[in-house]
Assembly symmetry: C2
Homo-oligomer: 423 residues x 2
């Protein structure tokens, strides 16, 4: 496993490493005798060290050649750090307000040094569990998605630029394979990794594994995920990959980045908001029934898509005479035709997003990796009730996604299903 | 041969080159004093030399760093020879009966040495113009397409293998760009390269450039062409890329090969058969009204798709428990579900093929590169009548392709439109 130049960081070696790396020690001031170091990697894939001095701070993230939570039993290339750094830099250029700055990357060590997102930044998912409203969340997320997706698609890039990047990110195949397995495969078959709130959801998990119509839809989504290099996507854009304060929204952890379908990112985010909605009944207590908060989540879901669409079309309009190879201005040469083309593009993207969002919801309930939104509900029966509603909605969404013409209809369907099931 | 750099071949240098290259001179016998050399490149991209000795024969194909017919004014990477050789070898392994063997490849010189397809092999397009029936054509072409497309798709390959090949063929981007321009762009806008049978088709060409519904469909096909790495496709599978005798069918010239949508190959072939059909009225004379031959073309069109579907499903069934990542047997675990998945896959592929086939027909009538089927009709009015019928059918097919459920329906629509328009 030991590759030349690679060595897992511990606190002592970390200090040596920083002292030898100008891009890092310059952020922390010349004197490095007062460093405070905290390892905070709560994911399964990496070490994450927060390093604070009296002069500054950095985060040091190191990818390990296996999935951390599973010990060394599930090997996973540490080259993912290369693609994470590449995506952070690319997205940082496209949307600097919402992507932490990268100070340093060391390919041999699989180490990224980047901006420390200081308190009160917390993981969005934790904020959603705590019932905190983020008034700018939809605005920021839609901005991030519109810019990172548009500017890495053929709407903006030439075929030459696009294929060059596609080829490079094909190298991140191991992470793509992991997604394929845990999102598109395992939930739909017996797998040692699957788990769910047993025994309550035993019949529900079985029903997923026996739902032919669902499996046919999932096959199409999986093919799209594997084959369609539409844009540079984050690849794991759930609410755990976003850090927030009331005023700031920062997207982190793009180690699954590759050229894939845009709808996978948009769906991941929307789907996780809807999961957060269905989890609220488990978080409600006598002090706070979460009714207003649930409405805020649904409003944010709606606004995220609507603002995304608006911003995406705005950058498209702005760059329609650029060098993007998809819609040449000499062909789509009238405002009404341009408008029709955009509407068609957006409705297809909307349906993709709903499909992927639904698949991401399902896998969080009956697959290997669950979400804290539900896991934090200690009463298993109550948790399973919440999960069952979310699962039922996700199955509906996956199968009927093409019947929805607007996000408002989707949100209405959430409300309707929730209303029926909590009676 | 240790060639430092590139040098265009002439007859004299060709002989030297062969003498220095064992893989070539061994095919021709040791004595090389009786070589007969003929340059036959009738395409626009390459030199093609047929070299025959008393002991054997080879074809030497050299890519030039520009499109030959346009002089040195339209540069085009000679690296395409690398991708052509790669595709010939890959397809040769998958379907040796229908792909000429490669003896030699020289990347610096962009030279491929391969089997000479000896007389009576002729270009299929010329056979179709001459009214010759090829009883095994549908059988052979369906075999070639089923095998080369299936075995390079995720139905057979793992994601790891697939992404590695996708990345490599991303390098053939210049040829992809050429297709994008001449198939998906130029016919739908004013372009100095476009031509058509003027003045007869002036209004028809203009109508194409002003047909918004057509442009919206073409945009979706172009996106699919650029984004969807479904399988290693030939990329230029018209009837000029096929050499035939009564018993033999050989697919040549895959310099446009890359990972793209399967339907592009299937459509290219079917679309060019339909072009050949519509050209027959121009080839008819008092000795031969071509009525029976037109029926043979339509039957061959029908059989090609039907046999393709049958063969493709057969190899899928045969390898359904293999390591292909698309449809895992643990999920698609019942014969009826497997069958449903296949039917859905095939109908989507069918609609893709019809769309691409239609686009390939249109571009041959109002775009830069025409087909000899029509060009050989000397009477311009008669030619334009044939072309107009083909164009009308192609527009219908492009817009309504999703309404066709079988190739029989498509062939009926050809007959019906032809019947109406020749009245």
């Amino acid at each position: 496993m030991a590759t030349e130049g690679f060595r897992p960081l511990d606190e002592k070696y970390l200090v040596e490493y920083i002292k030898a790396t100008p891009a890092l020690y310059l952020k922390l001031g010349e004197k490095l005798d007062d460093l405070q170091i905290k390892e905070v990697g709560d994911g399964n894939l990496n070490f994450v060290y927060i390093v604070v001095s009296s002069k500054g701070s950095v985060v040091i993230k190191q990818a390990l050649p296996y999935i951390r939570g599973m010990g060394e039993s599930w090997p996973m290339t540490k080259e993912r750090a290369y693609f994470e750094a590449l995506a952070l830099k690319e997205n940082g250029q496209l949307c600097p307000a919402h992507v932490p700055e990268v100070y340093h990357f060391d390919r041999n060590m699989s180490v990224i040094g980047m901006r420390y997102l200081e308190p009160p930044h917390i993981i969005l998912r934790k904020g959603l569990i705590a019932g905190i409203e983020y008034p700018l969340l939809a605005e920021h997320m839609s901005e991030y998605m519109a810019r990172t997706l548009f500017f890495t698609s053929l709407l903006y890039l030439s075929t030459t630029e696009h294929k060059r990047s596609v080829a490079e990110f094909c190298g991140n195949v191991e992470l793509c394979r992991l997604t394929e397995q845990v999102v598109f495969s395992d939930p739909y078959r017996e797998s040692e990794y699957n788990r769910w709130t047993s025994p309550y959801l035993d019949p529900d998990a079985k029903a997923v594994r026996e739902d032919d119509a669902l499996k046919l839809e999932v096959a199409e989504l999986k093919s799209m995920f594997c084959e369609r290099a539409q844009a540079l996507i984050h690849g794991d854009l759930h609410t755990g990959s976003v850090m927030v304060t009331r005023d700031s929204t920062q997207i982190i952890d793009p180690e699954f980045a590759f050229y894939g379908p845009m709808g996978f990112d948009i769906g991941a985010f929307l789907g996780n908001l809807i999961l957060a909605f269905f989890a609220q009944d488990g978080q409600a207590n006598e002090a706070n029934d979460r009714k207003l908060y649930k409405e805020w989540i649904l409003r944010t879901t709606e606004e995220t898509w609507n603002l995304f669409k608006q911003k995406f079309i705005a950058v498209w309009d702005e760059h329609k005479d650029g060098h993007g190879d998809a819609y040449l201005p000499s062909i789509y040469n009238k405002p009404e035709l341009q408008h029709l083309a955009q509407e068609r593009y957006m409705i297809n993207l909307f349906h993709d997003a709903l499909g992927f969002g639904a698949a991401k919801m399902i896998r969080r309930i009956v697959g290997v990796a669950h979400v804290e939104d539900f896991e934090s509900i200690k009463d298993a029966r109550k948790r399973s009730d919440c999960e069952r509603r979310a699962l039922k909605f996700a199955k509906l969404l996956l199968k009927k996604r093409r019947q929805f013409q607007s996000i408002t209809e989707v949100v209405s369907a959430v409300r309707q299903l929730h209303g029926q099931m909590v009676e």
